[in-house]
């Protein structure tokens, strides 16, 4: 089981409070974690990565274990602490004005 923290707007969209917990089969990667997240909450499809290219949206970042994993390959294993649920995967909306 992994833990995911969503930004406030996506929590509202998905009708969830606080952290989300997900079961992920196989190796826990950004891709498998997001696949599991979108399968549980289909309304989040397209909000974090492009529908077609699956590329991360420009103003979305992925943090975990005090590291910025945004530019790490989506198929690279996430840290063990994320895979075991000891630490959450943070989905963050980039800070910007407007």
């Amino acid at each position: 089981m992994i833990r995911v923290v969503l930004p406030q707007h996506l929590r509202t969209l998905a009708h969830v409070d606080g952290e989300v917990t997900l079961d992920v089969e196989g190796i826990v990667t950004q891709r498998s974690a997001l696949d599991a997240l979108e399968a549980r909450y289909p309304m989040l499809c397209g909000t974090m990565r492009d529908h077609v290219t699956q590329k991360r949206r420009p103003f979305i970042r992925f943090f975990a274990c005090e590291e910025d994993l945004s530019n790490v390959s989506p198929d690279a294993p996430l840290p063990d602490a994320v895979a075991t649920g000891a630490e959450p995967l943070l989905v963050v909306g980039a800070i910007a004005g407007g």
Binding site: A39, R40, P42, M43, C45, M48, R57
Partner: protein, 392 residues
């Protein structure tokens, strides 16, 4: 007793303003989707409690919202349930993917960019939602980069009508300062096959076969900001409007010039007449008088606020050319707001109500066809769109 429901899209959420037929006392609901840009909301003509909303964000992209109870509660169509074998793809209500299939998309993948090079079509947002006149589950969406999409399942899935981008001039289209947006969709109430659309800055187009094939309808437009002022395409059309009783008569607010067509857009002639400036964004037609039209003249280029700081609606009762300013109740000093292209609407009550919203967050209403105005709300976020539903 009739009532009205005003659907207001703003830079930071949606608001729903309701009143009885007197239109003096208003209830304000919102913000809905607080913090998101709500480019447009519109209700189904055949099921007014079915309302669609375009919710967008530079961070999170495009969301389509749907209400079945007049805006009290909302859902993402198809996104609320887990997919089952054979079901529609979950999360597809947010998915606007251009058609590039050989059969229908040709494929057409590029348009002209600011530097003259060809640039791939990239979906950014839905500017305008136009529900069908006969089916609450069918809706057309005008998007940026310019294209038209349609859903026939209540917004669960969307498919492009690729004949528009693929009709031939698509590679010559280029964005205006606000992006290359398809912002106007008019459905002909007398001919289910006929649809008018407008794109900044490509111009106006028409289909007579329900979106299979399209043609530019810009003959008579003159735009001095393009190399050939009378070119087939390239005109920055800001808004088109029609009266349902005469769908062949179109009124257009162009980047410069107010225009009129009496032949379904085949030819246009200018009706700016005595307007103090022929620049503006909105244009609309009185619900009961097909020759009575409204515009809000705006100073340009680049200022984009009312002339002399005086917010004035101009009305023509002669289908153009002869215009009168309407000022009672509108600020006549130090007013420097804009009125964006989708931010004016009319109701259907006996004394036609006229409504418009400003970038300063005011929504003004007139319950007497424009003679007298008063703000329903003063301090909303910048208003992007205004639609009105007349309820029985």
């Amino acid at each position: 007793m009739s009532s009205v429901r005003v659907l207001v899209g703003t830079h930071k959420g949606a608001f729903i303003l309701t009143s009885d037929g007197k239109r003096k006392r208003w209830k304000v609901s919102g913000p809905h989707f607080a913090g998101w840009e709500i480019y447009h909301l519109k209700g189904s003509p055949v099921d007014p409690n079915r309302i669609y909303a375009s919710q967008t964000s530079g961070w999170f992209g495009q969301i389509i919202q749907r209400s079945n109870d007049g805006g009290k509660t909302w859902e993402t169509p198809g996104g609320e349930t887990l997919p089952t074998p054979g079901s529609m793809p979950a999360g597809a209500s947010n998915k606007f993917v251009y058609d590039t299939t050989p059969e229908t998309g040709k494929p057409l993948t590029t348009h002209q960019w600011y530097d003259g090079t060809q640039h791939p079509w990239e979906f950014k947002r839905v500017w305008h939602l136009e529900p069908s006149l006969t089916d609450p589950d069918t809706v057309y969406a005008g998007v940026e980069d310019a294209a038209i999409f349609r859903t026939t399942d209540g917004g669960v899935t969307w498919h492009e009508l690729p004949g528009l981008r693929g009709h031939g001039t698509g590679p010559k289209w280029q964005p205006g300062a606000g992006g290359m947006c398809l912002h106007t969709i008019l459905l002909d109430p007398g001919d289910p096959g006929r649809i008018y659309i407008a794109i900044s800055s490509a111009g106006a187009f028409r289909t007579d076969d329900a979106g299979q094939t399209w043609k530019p309808i810009n003959r008579g437009l003159k735009s001095n900001y393009i190399p050939d002022p009378a070119a087939e395409i390239g005109h920055c059309v800001h808004r088109i409007s029609l009266h349902p009783s005469r769908p062949n008569v179109l009124f257009m607010q162009k980047h410069w010039d107010v225009m009129r067509s009496d032949d379904a857009g085949d030819t246009w002639h200018e009706v700016s007449g005595n307007l103090p400036t022929d620049f503006g964004f909105v244009i609309d037609v009185n619900a009961h008088e097909p020759e009575t039209i409204y515009v809000v003249p705006i100073k340009s280029d680049s200022e984009h606020f009312p002339l002399e700081g005086k917010l004035r609606v101009y009305r023509s009762r002669t289908g153009g050319n002869e215009w009168e300013p309407l000022t009672k109740g509108l600020p006549q000093r130090n007013c420097y707001v804009n009125v964006l292209r989708d931010a004016m609407a009319v109701d259907q009550l006996d004394s036609c109500g006229v409504y418009f919203g400003t970038t300063g967050g005011q929504v003004y209403a007139s319950a007497d066809a424009g003679e007298n105005w008063s703000p329903i709300v003063h301090d909303l976020p910048a208003v992007l769109s205004v639609e009105v539903q007349t309820l029985q």
